[in-house]
């Protein structure tokens, strides 16, 4: 969603009004291939694929009363592996409805000096009818190992100054990356470099009538995509910038939150009409929702999600009446529908705007409407969020990618009879670890004989983990559901005989109401191995496969566990009369991560042997979703402890 909400309330460019500025022309319209682009420096000749040079220029120019934006992308890539060829022999350029490609040039420079230029007839075009985006694409002729491919693209873009991000690292290493923003002198910009990218340098004398801002980066490694339990995308070197001020008009602090909040608030209030309110009343009256006061948020959300489908490109609704009739709603329809519903039920709301933290976390230091891509409702009286676009989630859960993140909370205050919007940046906390808690009660009973262990397990999946399973029932046929449940169940029992699994509380209808459960029974003699007069029993397998970070070089990225969660497990082994576990202490483990005196993760396993009963109790938790790099080692130990326990073998011996 490209600034969807910003577009909702802003008529953008009073901001750049260039009153008084002189007409200018883009400085790179004649940009051409680089002479000697085919020369590969000796030091890179053994690389499989490397971007030798990458230049991106964005130029903002005044043309008449308008502001135009031009974009240049120039790349010289050395390709010396099959993988490199596959990554570069198909080129796609996408651009918006009101944008155009001015130059699209491509050539391949072979080792023997042959140069193969793009034939215009090779270019195919495509329009995405949903977004209006256009694509030009072509296959690159003549590419072979040892070749250099050079691309030049000049586009005339829709000016967009609220929040620009430029990622300097990608799937191949980059030897040299030059960025320039060329702008009329009366426009003031704010920049921020992330993850070690050099700061912007301003040049006011490179061009007479324009400022040039540059960033140069050298020898950038490829993006880290291999570390486990990490949020890879947000750790690449990135430049972010936005327009801040227009010195001619004196207007400044563009894209600020207060203006956004007030415009948004006004727009919401102006759009809600009596007809709409009536339609929503009727919609809720028809199938009355009833329940306890504290269930109201769930009941409202559930009623809407059970009846109205979120369809981001649905454009046939002119009013809320249409929404109720067509039973489909786009994001704005949904916003209105929920807003009216909450108002009708006298539930106070705050609108929360934020980002998907796996794409880009909300940066409270960089104020821009570009941080406002996603929306939630916050209900302060209940301390709960409502996720209006996701049909398979119910409060208190919401997409975890939006939590553990900051957000802009917009609420209403009334002063002397007048209402207005107030905007505050606050933390969006994910539901705490007790919500996403899995509990497992595992029993292995050898009463019938040492070679006939009977196993039963009751697993209750809370919060997000249950939410992952519950919708499955509704999306597959009965037989396939049985197969999937069997597969999930087998993870908690290994491949064993007489296996039976009974799922409980599956289906969307149970979301947010009842936790998902699996009841498993089996004969687990497959986990038993005979070793002379003793028996080895793979008890650890019964907790299921666990996440692990066993094999890793020095850790580069902090840990990301998606959401706070916890486990409680009790494993009870009833042995035949006269048997004991010879290695009871093998089940004892205790690891924790402590940050500032606060234990944020722990795996504690406590075994106990009483008569012929061997019992292990587990407490495992991850209090937060993020784990800092400087505590990573201890965090790794906690996580790996559960995976280690999964390998526990106990030795059963007759006294």
């Amino acid at each position: 969603m490209k600034n969807t909400f910003a577009l909702l309330v802003f008529v953008l460019l009073a901001a750049t009004s260039i009153l008084g500025a002189q007409d200018q022309q883009c400085s790179f319209l004649d940009y051409d291939f680089k002479p000697n682009a085919g020369e590969v420096p000796e030091e890179y000749k053994d690389e499989g694929e490397i971007v030798l040079e990458k230049t991106i220029k964005i130029e903002v120019v005044a043309e008449g009363e308008e502001v135009e934006e031009y974009l240049l992308v120039h790349e010289i890539i050395y390709v010396n592996s099959d993988e490199g060829i596959e990554n570069n022999n198909k080129i796609y350029t996408s651009y918006g409805e009101n944008e155009s490609i001015l130059t699209l040039k491509n050539r391949v420079l072979l080792k023997d000096g042959t140069v193969i230029e793009l034939n215009e007839d090779d270019i195919e075009e495509e329009i995405d009818e949903e977004t209006g985006n256009k694509y030009s694409y072509f296959a690159v002729r003549g590419l072979e190992k040892g070749a250099v491919i050079e691309k030049v693209q000049v586009l005339q873009n829709d000016p967009s100054f609220a929040d620009r991000k430029l990622w300097f690292q990608g799937s191949a290493p980059v030897a040299s990356f030059d960025f320039q923003l060329i702008s009329p002198k009366h426009l003031v910009w704010k920049f921020k470099s992330y993850n070690g990218l050099p700061e912007v340098v301003k040049h006011d004398s490179l061009m007479d009538d324009r400022n040039v801002f540059t960033v140069q980066a050298k020898n950038l490694p490829e993006k880290n995509t291999t570390e486990k339990v990490a949020n890879h995308d947000v750790h690449v070197q990135t430049l972010r910038f936005k327009l801040f001020e227009n010195l001619i008009t004196g207007a400044r602090n563009f894209y600020n939150y207060n203006e956004f909040a007030q415009s948004f608030y006004d727009r919401m209030n102006n759009t809600i009409d009596k007809g709409g309110q009536k339609a929503v009343n009727k919609f809720f009256r028809k199938q009355k929702i009833s329940g306890n006061e504290e269930d109201l948020p769930y009941l409202i959300e559930n009623h809407i999600k059970n009846n109205i489908v979120y369809n981001k490109s649905f454009n046939q609704n002119k009013s809320l009446k249409d929404v109720v009739k067509n039973k489909q709603a786009n994001i704005f329809d949904m916003l209105l529908l929920y807003a009216v519903a909450f108002k009708n039920y006298e539930v106070d709301v705050e609108y929360v705007f934020t980002t998907n933290r796996y794409k880009w976390p909300f940066d409270k230091e960089f104020e821009t409407t570009g941080n406002l891509d996603e929306i939630l409702f916050y209900l302060p009286d209940f301390d709960q969020y409502i996720d209006i676009t996701n049909s398979t989630i119910r409060t208190p859960l919401f997409q975890y990618s939006l939590g553990a993140n900051d957000g802009l909370f917009i609420s209403e205050v009334t002063y002397k009879g007048k209402s207005k919007a107030v905007a505050k940046v606050k933390r969006i906390e994910l539901p705490d670890m007790s919500v996403s808690r899995d509990s497992m009660f595992i029993n292995v009973d050898f009463s019938a004989g040492i070679e006939e262990p009977k196993f039963s397990s009751r697993i209750r999946f809370g919060g997000y983990s249950g939410n992952n399973f519950q919708p499955i029932q509704d999306f597959v046929d009965k037989e396939t559901y049985k197969t999937i449940m069997r597969d999930i169940g087998k993870n908690y029992s290994a491949d064993v005989e007489d296996f039976n699994v009974v799922p409980k509380n599956g289906g969307v209808e149970n979301l947010g109401k009842k936790p998902f459960e699996l009841h498993i029974t089996a004969n687990v003699s497959d986990l038993l191995q005979n070793a002379g007069d003793k028996y080895l029993f793979k008890l650890g397998q019964l907790i299921g496969r666990q996440k692990e970070i066993y094999q890793e070089k020095e850790r580069q990225l902090p840990g990301d566990m998606r959401y706070p969660h916890s486990y409680y497990r009790v494993l009870t082994v009833t042995l035949p009369e006269g048997y004991t576990v010879s290695n009871p202490e093998a089940g004892a483990l205790d690891f924790k991560t402590v940050v500032d005196g606060n234990t944020i993760a722990r795996f504690l396993s406590t075994p106990e042997q009483r008569g012929n009963v061997y019992q292990i109790e587990h407490v495992e938790f991850y209090k937060q979703s993020n784990f800092p790099l400087d505590h990573f080692e201890s965090f790794r130990k906690v996580l790996n402890a559960a995976a280690d326990f999964n390998k526990l073998v106990v030795v059963l011996e007759k006294n």
Binding site: D82, E83, K478, V651
Partner: protein, 639 residues
């Protein structure tokens, strides 16, 4: 892979109206299908084939009615169909009727390209319909008309849906002067009824299935068309004033059609190819060596990028263009390879049509373009046929690509001559995975060294998987492949050899550590010596119905040496085991030497398919295998 693959996917959606009100329809279906989210009330394809003065006019009217049965299915607000230059949808109508009989006529439709199956560019477009007003009890109705330009390219009709279906029906209404045949596949229980009715100048064929259970997913099945019931149509001939025009019906007819696509291929010679061929074959002394060198050159230098626009999906491109582009699809690679071989003076290399393992038919079973989806070249050397598939970059000369084994190849010799031959299934002795490991038990840890060798398809598959990985991902893949015991396995080092030498086995030495595997008691050590996970050899679930498919026959040879730790002695070794049946072979034995225990075992897959009749054999044998794999070695401290 060519466009036919995609055409096969375009099983048309369709149907028939009935006078009942939607509220009543819903109530009656609710009793029958209580737990289903959605049901297909009817899906129908009705072909009308007319012979207008010696010209065929073919259209297909499709209709599909789906009823939303339960709340969660209200999200399924979209349907789609595909249109292309050959089968162009000329009109569509879509609407919904809710449980209170209110009709919603205004739907949204959106067109997009549909370059599926790795095709870079083609003319197939997907049109997606969005229905408003969908609630429980709503019926979605989609109707559209497709006009066919080429009478040889009709769509098959599949008698299976993702949801339960009340009625699935294919109707062909055809002028008597046109000979049409529908062939039924995968319907051993005759669930598809057939009726033929003569109506004046026309004949009406109807295939119909009622109350069809939904498609169920099972692991490892062969492709859909091998197991699911369907009808494939072919127009065999039609009469004109001047006589009968023969279209399809025999392999000869199909070949005549295909010849038309290649007759003008490479009619002009390309001096650059001649020069290139000379360079590539300069060290080759025999024809076979020349073909091999040229085959490897095409594999290594022409990348797979497929343009399948219109007849571009059938007609190979000239070698000159392919050479310049350095990319092409299967036909283009075959074209340049054939041309290069001919240029090198080896004329017995031919273009060859073939179906991949996704296609179930022999040419006799279905002599239409649906019987194949791929092109290769075939080199006939003194009666021996060598299949050359340049789309598979890693297979060695002399081995076909794995996905065409057991399939029929249609080798185009010249205008009037062709050969249909079966590509041999490569024996398991060509596809060997050999692993030799020596381990030491150090404290509570295992440390060891290993060496693996992969030949044949085992190598091809592995190297193909490595091709697009960066360093870290390569490491992870090799770690997974060599993994022993549990995921606590730590790969320390490896040295991969012969990755790009197509004729040599892939080989690597490696070193590793494995913690938390060995069980250590006061004076005893236990270790299960079957360190490799053999998850393929597991019994099937009791309710499995569909066959299991192995793309390749293969052999595993494993050798493990466990050095007896200092101060310990072994307390006996397990007895050997041999299992031999028509599906697989297993043989294991232990030996004891002065300081070590040696385990050797072999596992050999003997059949590509395991059909339900053989499930019992499979289950019994794999059960025994599982028991055997539980054997443990016990080392006791010497007193």
């Amino acid at each position: 892979m060519c466009r036919i693959t995609k055409l096969l996917l375009l099983f048309s959606l369709v149907t028939v109206g009935c006078g009942q009100k939607q509220s009543e329809v819903f109530q009656s279906m609710k009793k029958k299908y209580a737990s289903s989210g959605e049901i297909v009330l009817v899906e129908e394809d009705k072909y009308t084939i007319k012979n207008k003065n010696g010209e065929l006019q073919i259209k297909k009217e499709s209709r599909m009615e789906t009823v939303v049965m339960r709340n969660f299915a209200i999200n399924r607000v979209k349907d789609s169909y595909r249109t292309s230059d050959f089968a162009t949808v000329t009109q569509h109508k879509a609407y919904s009727i809710n449980a209170k009989n209110k009709k919603f006529k205004k739907t949204l439709s959106r067109e997009s390209n549909d370059n599926a199956d790795g095709i870079f560019y083609d003319d197939i477009r997907k049109v997606e319909i969005t229905y408003p007003g969908i609630g429980v009890g709503s019926k979605k109705v989609l109707e559209y008309t497709t006009v066919f330009k080429d009478p040889r390219l009709l769509h098959p009709f599949l008698f299976i849906k993702d949801s339960p279906a009340e009625t699935l029906r294919l109707i062909v209404e055809v002028d008597r002067s046109v000979d049409v045949e529908g062939r039924v596949f995968n319907d051993p229980d005759n669930t598809i009824s057939y009726n033929k009715e003569e109506k004046g100048k026309q004949v009406v064929h109807t295939w119909e299935a009622k109350e069809v259970a939904p498609f169920t997913f099972e692991r490892g099945t062969p492709a859909l068309l091998h197991t699911e019931p369907h009808v494939a149509l072919m127009i065999k001939s039609y009469d004109t004033k001047t006589g009968t025009v023969q279209l399809l019906g025999s392999v000869q007819d199909l070949y005549r059609y295909y010849w038309g696509f290649i007759k003008d291929l490479n009619s002009e010679s390309d001096p650059a190819i001649v020069e290139l061929v000379d360079r590539i074959t300069e060290n080759a002394t025999t024809d076979r060596e020349k073909v091999k060198a040229l085959y490897y050159w095409v594999k290594d230098n022409i990348k797979y990028i497929a343009y399948e626009n219109g007849y571009g999906g059938f007609i190979p491109r000239d070698a000159k263009l392919v050479r310049e582009r350095k990319f092409g699809d299967c036909k283009d690679m075959s074209s340049i390879l054939k041309e290069m071989c001919h240029s090198a003076g080896v004329s017995n290399v031919y273009l060859t049509w073939i179906g991949t393992s996704r296609i179930p038919y022999t040419y006799k079973q279905l002599p239409t373009p649906s019987a194949d989806n791929h092109m290769i070249a075939a080199y006939i050397d003194k009666g021996e046929i060598i299949f050359l598939d340049a789309t598979d970059s890693y297979s060695p000369f002399g081995m076909p690509s794995d996905f065409i084994q057991g399939k029929e190849a249609l080798i185009g010799i010249n205008e009037n001559n062709f050969k249909v031959v079966t590509v041999p299934i490569q024996p398991s002795s060509k596809n060997i995975w050999q692993d030799s490991i020596t381990i030491n038990l150090e404290g509570d840890k295992i440390v060891g060294t290993g060496n693996f060798r992969l030949s044949g398809y085992n190598k091809v598959d592995f190297v193909r998987g490595l091709a697009t990985l960066n360093e870290q991902k390569r490491f992870a893949k090799i770690k997974d492949f060599t993994l022993l015991g549990t995921n606590k396995y730590k790969l320390l080092d490896f040295n991969l050899k012969n990755e790009f030498e197509k004729d040599l086995p892939l080989e690597s030495d490696y070193t590793f550590e494995l913690a938390n595997y060995l069980v250590v008691l006061d004076n005893e050590l236990y270790i299960n010596p079957f360190l490799k996970n053999q998850s393929t050899f597991e019994p099937f679930d009791a309710d499995r119905e569909k066959p299991y498919f192995f793309q390749n026959l293969s052999t595993q040879n494993h050798h493990l040496t466990v050095n007896i730790p200092e101060g310990y002695e072994i307390r006996g070794v397990p007895i050997p085991l041999t299992l031999d049946n028509k599906l697989f072979y297993f043989d294991a034995s232990f030996e004891q030497s002065a300081n070590a225990i040696h385990l050797s075992y072999q596992l050999k897959i003997k059949s590509n398919y395991i059909y339900s009749a053989d499930f019992e054999t499979w289950n019994k044998a794999t059960q025994e295998l599982k028991q055997y794999f539980k054997n443990t070695l016990t080392f006791t401290a010497k007193n």
